[in-house]
């Protein structure tokens, strides 16, 4: 506990961004080792990130300290907002055609399916993505990284999933970029994904990563997922069947939301 307090005190100091990568690595290593020990001792495997993960300094004052309060969903929580063609144009899934010219970078296609925890496709639902450009720069007033903005790339896309939960985005492979968590901190290349299910309790925002990124072990946001198998679920797979001849390389990434409570709770109602 005293170590945790010391870490917290250090992190609240504005000079904390001078922490070295080695300091961050050591904290991650300790937290992961402690997690693996709890699993050996019989604790459940973790499938989500810790919301309290000190190596990610911004999390220190922004995570609830009290346990999430378990509750059974009520009516509104068993449904989700509806989206459709009215909301999203089919061309919004191609991030390379939003301007007058072709964006710079490696053209890629990212395709996969959105499923729920029962393996059922999440059909006709909204999926949103955003990302840095091929130089690691976002279009955003708060991104001051001195890498070039691409006038032909905003890095924003939307789609409505198909009848089997399928989606497909055409885009440019994003680059890693520096941030201020600690000295010489770099995020692995990633695409942000925002997802809805059939119940609003399935709402999720996450990040998709690319296979073999050398920055994985150094990144406290990715490593806030303490379980190695769970971390792997955020990494897309290179898929040559998605790659198209003389056009774009392809990646596959399937997303699994939590379980719907609609069906089983309604069934139970019927039995009562």
């Amino acid at each position: 506990m005293s170590t945790e307090n010391a870490i917290q005190a250090a992190a609240l100091d504005p000079a904390a961004t001078a922490d070295s990568q080695e300091t961050i690595n050591a904290e991650i290593t300790d937290l992961h080792a402690a997690y693996r020990q709890t699993v050996l001792d019989g604790a459940a495997v973790e499938t989500q990130p810790r919301i309290n993960f000190a190596p990610y300094r911004s999390s220190l004052l922004r995570h609830p300290t009290k346990d999430l309060h378990h509750t059974d969903p009520e009516t509104i929580e068993l449904y989700a907002p509806a989206f459709g063609e009215r909301d999203v144009h089919a061309l919004e899934s191609d991030l390379t055609i939003q301007h007058n010219g072709e964006p710079i970078g490696e053209r890629i296609v990212v395709a996969g399916r959105v499923l729920d925890g029962d393996g059922r496709p999440v059909a006709g639902q909204l999926i949103e993505v955003w990302q840095a450009n091929a130089a690691g720069r976002y279009i955003h007033k708060r991104d001051q990284h001195p890498a070039p903005i691409d006038p032909n790339f905003t890095g924003v896309g939307r789609a409505i999933t198909g009848p089997n939960g399928e989606y497909k985005f055409t885009t440019i492979k994003p680059a890693p970029y520096p941030w201020k968590n600690h000295h010489n901190a770099w995020r692995p290349a990633h695409i942000h994904f925002s997802l809805f299910g059939t119940d609003f309790t399935q709402r999720m925002i996450t990040q998709m990563y690319f296979p073999g990124d050398p920055l994985f072990s150094l990144d406290p946001i990715y490593q806030a997922i303490t379980d190695a198998d769970a971390r792997d679920r955020l990494v897309a797979t290179y898929d040559h069947s998605i790659t198209s001849h003389e056009w774009a390389t392809g990646y596959n990434w399937d997303i699994v939301l939590t379980g719907s409570n609609q069906t089983w709770m309604e069934d139970e109602e019927g039995e009562n």
């Binding site: 989500q48 059974d72 009516t75 925890g117 955003h140």
Partner: protein, 197 residues
């Protein structure tokens, strides 16, 4: 819904994908025009829902994104598209706003009706922010139906000081004030649901 907490949710077949923080750079991706206007301000039943989101030091969080999902004023759960391209007339039940530079948010909506007789009406709220590694869920209860509030299973399971973090304050002009505290003494109660893992 009469389901009680001693019923067992069926196990999941697949392991859910982990969440990650929304980060700071969602500005061109997620906010949309009239995102906070579930109804037009001129709507006869329009109500302002607003508040401030703060961190463990009590400092406002200037880069959070909030979403609400609610029934209409008669307690109907609607299933209508058009949230992202508002026509100004269709109530979709969904809203999304980024907070401003001082952590303040505003939705223009209606008081949700009770979805079932004698139930306490509430608005579902989801919180995203840089520094927040996964989304948080909570409920915004309306303050008026004190009997329904007293009988609400979630509220009844909380201590008084924690319970009050989930009940909005009705202001003199009819607005609903609901502040969100991510950490500390007045920390908002955040929720988990069955079938998350």
């Amino acid at each position: 819904m009469t389901t009680s907490s001693n019923t067992t949710a069926p196990a999941l077949k697949l392991t859910p994908t982990p969440g990650q923080t929304i980060g700071p750079f969602y500005g061109y991706a997620l906010p949309f025009e009239k995102g906070g206007e579930l109804v037009n301000q001129a709507h006869l039943s329009a109500v302002r829902l607003h508040g401030v989101i703060t961190d463990g030091n009590g400092a406002p969080i200037p880069d959070a994104l909030l979403e609400i999902w609610q029934a209409d004023e008669h307690g109907n759960v609607v299933s209508r598209d058009g949230s992202l391209v508002r026509d100004g007339y269709t109530f979709t039940g969904f809203g999304r706003v980024p907070v401003d530079n001082v952590g303040h948010y505003t939705f223009t909506t209606v008081n949700p009706g009770a979805t079932e007789a004698d139930k306490a009406p509430f608005i579902m709220l989801t919180v995203f922010a840089r520094g927040l590694l996964n989304r948080l869920f909570t409920r915004i209860y309306l303050p008026e139906d004190t009997e329904a509030l007293a009988n609400d299973p979630l509220l009844a399971s909380l201590d008084e000081d924690r319970r009050s973090t989930l009940i909005a304050t009705r202001e003199e002009d009819g607005s609903l004030l609901f502040n969100i505290s991510l950490q500390g003494q007045d920390e908002t109660v955040f929720l988990s649901y069955p079938r998350e893992s």
